[in-house]
């Protein structure tokens, strides 16, 4: 079991000036007790100078003393303490992202400070608006003070918006940040000129509190993406993209990306083939279901060429790498995924669609206010104040907050149900789908073999042998039999089976020929068992349907979606799965290109396709589809291609996700309608000169509060 002791994880230690650093993901760290146990276990390993666990993201950072780093010993010590750990690469992107988050928080803190302190000087001014005794001289002093605090804060807090607006203008587009920036800068400008001229209207507090509210929305959106990204990273780290390299008789674990062609690798049962390779010695069976969708296993002996991503089922095999990771079949699919992701980034988000209507309308209204005001004899100064008042009261803070608040609420609720949403745009796309394409293996079915129709007495007899081995099928058998004693004097024969003593009788469990049964070709995966000299019994394994697959399909249909199965498996099992779940349209034997072509054909017919798949053969289709989902058991490339990842047993999560996405869309549109209604009242009022700084402050915070409260209703069942 404790293999890590002999393994060399040194490739994961990052060199630092004083020693080295190792980042590990400890998935089952939960409480204060775990925290001290884990840190103590790590510190007890030789050469470790410090270990610190972050309980929030379950990352353990181990620092080594100079020239002494034994990463394998740390992993082994943690494993002995009952906390399996996997090497984790936080990556450059993560650090970049964190900096962006900090910048937003700091901008928010400055905006909060500016809003409060500018408001402190604004309150006397507001009081003066209602006929209290405030002389023009005192009012001007207050306006100066308000400006001295508010303006620098607004300029600092507005930087994220100014920068984004500038970028978008240079790209020849206008996003939501353009009107925000223009509004803020014009407000500051007019407030200054009013202060200098001894006027009545200074909106310093409005400008900075507007930025504060917008930054909340911006930060929520950022948090949503950061959280999804780190959760997605954890899932992938658990799949451990590592390879065990044999060099001069020593075993070393390395990131898959570092494996060179020609190197000898060791692949144990239950591990995935890391790169395209040829079997050098040993024998085993390979499960290609994630690559091709086929559930039938393939026998691998010396000379067999294996493709990266295939699962090694039984024996330990030594393989010679034929290609580097970036040239493997796996990487070619990953590139397809990237191409698809680029296409998806062209998707116009709801808020940007709203901005496209909002920007010209509001700016025309403001310009018209100025022009008409001047024409009817208000004078340029008063006309300009009214035009700016229009910009302020119609500020897009309700819009800027409306969508992020809804999406954060929806994602948090989905996250609690085990569904990971990668971005807000993913939810928006999911709400629009009208056709669902399901993969069979791993989506409609559980994607791993289950024991079927076993004789309980024979199962109990075979169980002791099954418990003594790590072969995946035998583990399934042992799980089905429950706890009990294990066989003794067990010997494993690679690619054949196990032999051992149960009580005083010798028994064998494994392939038909090994156990002594007449081989017959079957579709199912199977194991044979016999006591020495007796007739062998067959245990059959089959990939079972997810328990709620039929219910999920019915749920999708009830929501007006059409459902189709496109699988790489042969016709028989696909037809069975389709019949069992009530899907009328199905296609078997589809290659990855076929799957992508099916998605494209639907898209060309104007349909919005949701693709759900787990295999590499689905990755291209996932990337091409309007929205994509993958189970947590899917391969890295497929998870990267998917917008949503669902963990857990149930397929009904898909229906729940669609419901949530639709609910989020409804709330977002409601918020837009509310914002429109508010603007229809506020804009004319501003044009008529009825808005003063006090009214502007009230209206702005009031509308933001209303949309936020409405957002919290997302996903609440009526």
């Amino acid at each position: 079991m404790a293999l890590s002791e002999d393994l060399d994880f040194s490739a994961f230690v990052k060199p630092e000036p004083d020693g080295g650093r190792l980042d590990l993901l400890v998935q089952n760290a939960r409480c204060a007790a775990c925290l001290s146990k884990i840190e103590q276990a790590a510190r007890s390993a030789p050469g470790v100078s410090a270990a610190r666990l972050n309980l929030t993201n379950k990352k353990l950072t181990v620092t080594f003393a100079p020239s002494r780093s034994d990463a394998g010993a740390v992993v082994a010590a943690l494993e002995r303490a009952g906390f399996p750990a996997v090497p984790y690469d936080p990556g450059q992107a993560q650090a970049e992202h964190d900096r962006e988050g900090r910048r937003l928080i700091l901008a928010m803190a400055v905006a909060a400070f500016g809003a409060m302190n500018a408001m402190m000087f604004s309150v006397p001014i507001w009081a003066g608006l209602f006929g209290q005794e405030l002389g023009p001289a005192t009012r001007t002093v207050m306006m100066w003070l308000s400006g001295a605090v508010g303006a620098p804060c607004a300029l600092f807090a507005g930087m994220p918006f100014f920068r984004s607006a500038w970028r978008s203008l240079r790209a020849g587009r206008a996003n939501m940040d353009v009107p925000i920036s223009i509004g803020v800068l014009m407000t500051l400008g007019i407030s200054f000129s009013e202060t200098v001229l001894g006027g009545r209207d200074a909106y310093f507090d409005a400008a900075v509190s507007l930025l504060f509210l917008l930054l909340i929305g911006r930060w929520l959106d950022h948090q949503l993406r950061a959280k999804a990204r780190s959760a997605a990273g954890d899932l992938l780290a658990l799949q451990a993209a590592t390879a065990t390299v044999i060099k001069g008789g020593e075993l070393a674990v390395r990131p898959v990306a570092d494996v060179k062609p020609g190197e000898l690798l060791l692949v144990r049962s239950g591990e995935r083939i890391p790169v395209d390779c040829e079997v050098e010695s040993g024998a085993s069976e390979l499960d290609n279901s994630l690559l091709t969708g086929e559930t039938r296993t393939v026998r691998a002996v010396r000379g067999t060429v294996c493709r990266a991503g295939a699962l090694n089922l039984s024996g330990v095999i030594q393989v010679r790498a034929l290609a580097a990771s970036e040239d493997s079949a796996l990487a070619r699919i990953a590139r397809l995924v990237e191409a698809g992701a680029q296409a998806k980034s062209k998707y116009v988000r709801l808020a940007d669609k709203a901005a496209a209507i909002y920007v010209p309308v509001v700016h025309t209204a403001a310009a018209a206010t100025f022009a008409v005001g001047w024409m009817v004899g208000l004078g340029p100064r008063e006309a300009l104040i009214r035009a700016v008042a229009v910009l302020i009261v119609t500020c897009p803070c309700a819009l800027g907050l409306a969508v992020p608040a809804v999406q954060v609420t929806a994602s948090a609720r989905l996250f609690r149900k085990g569904l990971l949403v990668k971005s807000g745009a993913a939810l928006e796309r999911l709400a629009e789908v009208d056709h669902v394409i399901l993969d069979k293996t791993g989506v409609i079915t559980e994607g791993r073999p289950r024991l079927i129709d076993a004789d309980p007495t024979r199962l109990a007899q075979a169980a002791p042998l099954a418990r003594a081995t790590r072969h995946p099928l035998a583990r399934t058998l042992a799980d089905a039999a429950g706890a009990g004693p294990a066989a003794e004097a067990v010997r494993e024969r690679a690619g054949q089976g196990v032999e051992g003593w149960i009580g005083d009788r010798k028994a064998r469990l494994g392939r038909a020929a090994f156990v002594g049964a007449a081989t017959e070709a079957t579709r199912e995966t199977e194991l044979w068992f016999a006591f020495d000299g007796e007739t062998p019994t067959r245990f059959r394994f089959s990939d079972r349907l997810r328990p709620d697959a039929g219910q999920a399909v019915a749920g999708l249909k009830a929501r007006g979606l059409t459902v189709e199965i496109v699988s790489g498996d042969v016709a028989g099992p696909v037809a069975e799965a389709a019949a069992a779940t009530g899907v009328e349209t199905w296609r078997a034997g589809a290659t990855p290109q076929d799957k992508a072509a099916v998605v494209e054909a639907h898209a060309a017919a104007g349909r919005k396709v949701l693709m759900i798949g787990d295999g590499l053969n689905d990755a291209a289709a996932l990337a091409k589809a309007h929205a994509a989902m993958a189970p947590g058991t899917a391969l890295e490339a497929s998870q990267n291609a998917a917008d949503l990842v669902f963990s857990g047993e149930g397929l009904f999560a898909v229906v729940e996700a669609i419901d949530m996405a639709r609910s989020a869309r409804r709330r977002a549109l409601e918020n837009f309608r509310f914002a429109t209604l508010y603007n229809l009242v506020a804009a004319p009022a501003a044009m008529l000169g009825l808005v003063n700084p006090f009214v502007a402050a009230l209206a702005m915070s009031g509308s933001s509060l209303a949309v936020t409260l409405n957002a919290l209703r997302t996903g609440v069942q009526r």
């Binding site: 001290s36 972050n54 929030t56 803190a109 400070f113 409060m116 302190n117 005192t138 003070l145």
Partner: protein, 51 residues
């Protein structure tokens, strides 16, 4: 009213102090592990320095 000349900068200074303190907590990684920090006060061999 001359008291304003003292009170106004004083109150703004207090506010700046709060922003500065917040900026310091942010720089000192105090929001990186809220769950772990809450758990650490329960441990007897106290270790309160974030790394």
């Amino acid at each position: 009213m001359t008291i304003l000349l003292f009170l106004a900068p004083f109150s703004v200074g207090l506010g700046l102090l709060a922003v500065g303190a917040f900026w310091w907590t942010l720089r000192a990684d105090q929001y990186d592990d809220p769950v772990g920090d809450a758990a650490r006060i329960l441990l007897s061999d106290s270790d309160d320095r974030p790394t």
